[in-house]
């Protein structure tokens, strides 16, 4: 509501399009009457707006109360140690507590940002896609958990100047948690539902599984190729050329027989 002037008569602005009415009243009844009229209209309007806001907040409270309670995690429990947060899912209500869209059109849905807190300390953030009430983050966030740890998510709607808080979700009692399973969190405020997945830290095999499988497959394939095409890939070494023999006496031409003309002498020796 902004003050509006009509000549020298300053009156409270109530709504667009009311200037004609005020100008007419100023002209016909004077400034005082116009002021009284404007104050009256302003009060009426504020009353209506407050009633609308209260009704919207009541509807939001009912909506939040009707939200089904999340199932309790049914994991075997975790021991203190290092774990990884691998997945986060958050679903927010489509409107604010005043039943208004989170952002101005176009793109009225919120631009979610999730802060991950462990025992109150921020350990990571997740920024899924803009303009969506459902957020899903895939992470690889290493955290140190204790038997009494509490994980919580703080969800806001990212805005240019100031972020609008949307709500929180918490997960307590690690004795009911488990790894590689969706752990439902208890939502609050304008969060419809939230869940988190934690996993044990990767083992050597987890880290190198694809490489080892690839390596074994490559070596196996190569051995198969070598085995199947052994003859063409690994031809036997060529046999040494037969030693020259004399065609007359079939004696080897070598140290004992330098020329075939010596065949007779060889035969004599053999005889």
């Amino acid at each position: 509501m902004y003050p509006a002037s009509h000549g020298r008569c300053y009156v409270r602005s109530v709504s667009s399009g009311w200037h004609v009415a005020v100008t007419t009243i100023v002209a016909l009844c004077g400034c005082k009457a116009a002021r009284e009229y404007a104050e009256k209209r302003y009060d009426e309007r504020r009353t209506v707006e407050k009633a609308e806001e209260r009704a919207a907040e009541d509807r939001a409270a009912k909506q939040e109360a009707d939200r089904p309670p999340p199932p309790k995690p049914n994991g075997p429990g975790i021991t203190a140690g290092t774990y990884r947060i691998t997945n986060i899912r958050v679903a927010a209500f489509a409107t604010t507590r005043k039943d208004k869209p989170w952002d101005d059109a176009p793109g009225e849905e919120p631009d979610l940002a999730v802060k991950i807190r462990l025992d109150g300390d921020t350990v990571g953030t997740c920024r899924p896609n803009d303009n969506a009430v459902n957020a899903h983050c895939t992470l690889d966030l290493e955290v140190e958990l204790r038997e009494s740890s509490e994980l919580s998510l703080e969800v806001v709607d990212r805005d240019t100047l100031v972020d609008d808080p949307i709500g929180t979700a918490t997960l307590t009692d690690p004795s009911t948690w488990g790894t590689r399973m969706e752990l439902p969190m208890v939502p609050a405020s304008r969060i419809r539902s939230a869940s988190i997945v934690i996993a044990t830290p990767p083992t050597w095999w987890d880290l190198h599984r694809s490489r080892m499988i690839g390596l074994c497959a490559g070596i196996g394939l190569a051995i198969s190729v070598v085995g199947l095409f052994r003859r063409s890939l690994m031809p036997p070494p060529p046999a040494p050329a037969p030693l020259p023999r004399c065609s007359h006496c079939r004696a080897l031409l070598g140290d004992s027989l330098a020329k075939c003309s010596e065949c007779g002498a060889v035969q004599k020796v053999h005889a």
């Binding site: 694809s210 690839g214 190569a222 095409f229 070494p237």
Partner: protein
């Protein structure tokens, strides 16, 4: 024309297979480095090709009557492809030097 004639690397089928596997392995290693082939497939294929190259070279070394520098160079290339996942700069340098040595030996 190779000065080695019929003894050049491309006349030894096992070394040809080892060389082709190594070249494909280098290509995949570069693709993995650039993020074109994500986990887990990229490194798996890379290690598979490096393993195949090393196996072909090893088969050649076992079968050959004499082992020359080119067998050793192919082993170095395969090892470079293996290690490029962890020591990119060093492995890249090893691969480049081994390829240059191999080409110079064969031409």
């Amino acid at each position: 024309m190779s000065k080695h004639g019929d003894t050049a690397i491309w006349h030894v089928p096992l070394l040809v297979l080892a060389g082709i596997s190594a070249i494909a392995g280098i290509a995949v290693a570069i693709a993995v480095w650039q993020g074109a082939l994500p986990e887990p497939w990229g490194p798996g294929v890379q290690w598979g090709l490096a393993g195949a190259s090393a196996t072909f070279t090893l088969a050649r070394i076992i079968h050959a009557r004499s082992v020359g520098r080119r067998e050793l160079e192919l082993v170095v290339i395969a090892a470079g492809v293996f290690l490029s996942q962890y020591m990119l700069t060093i492995a890249g340098a090893v691969i480049v030097v081994a390829i240059i040595a191999l080409v110079l030996d064969e031409l």
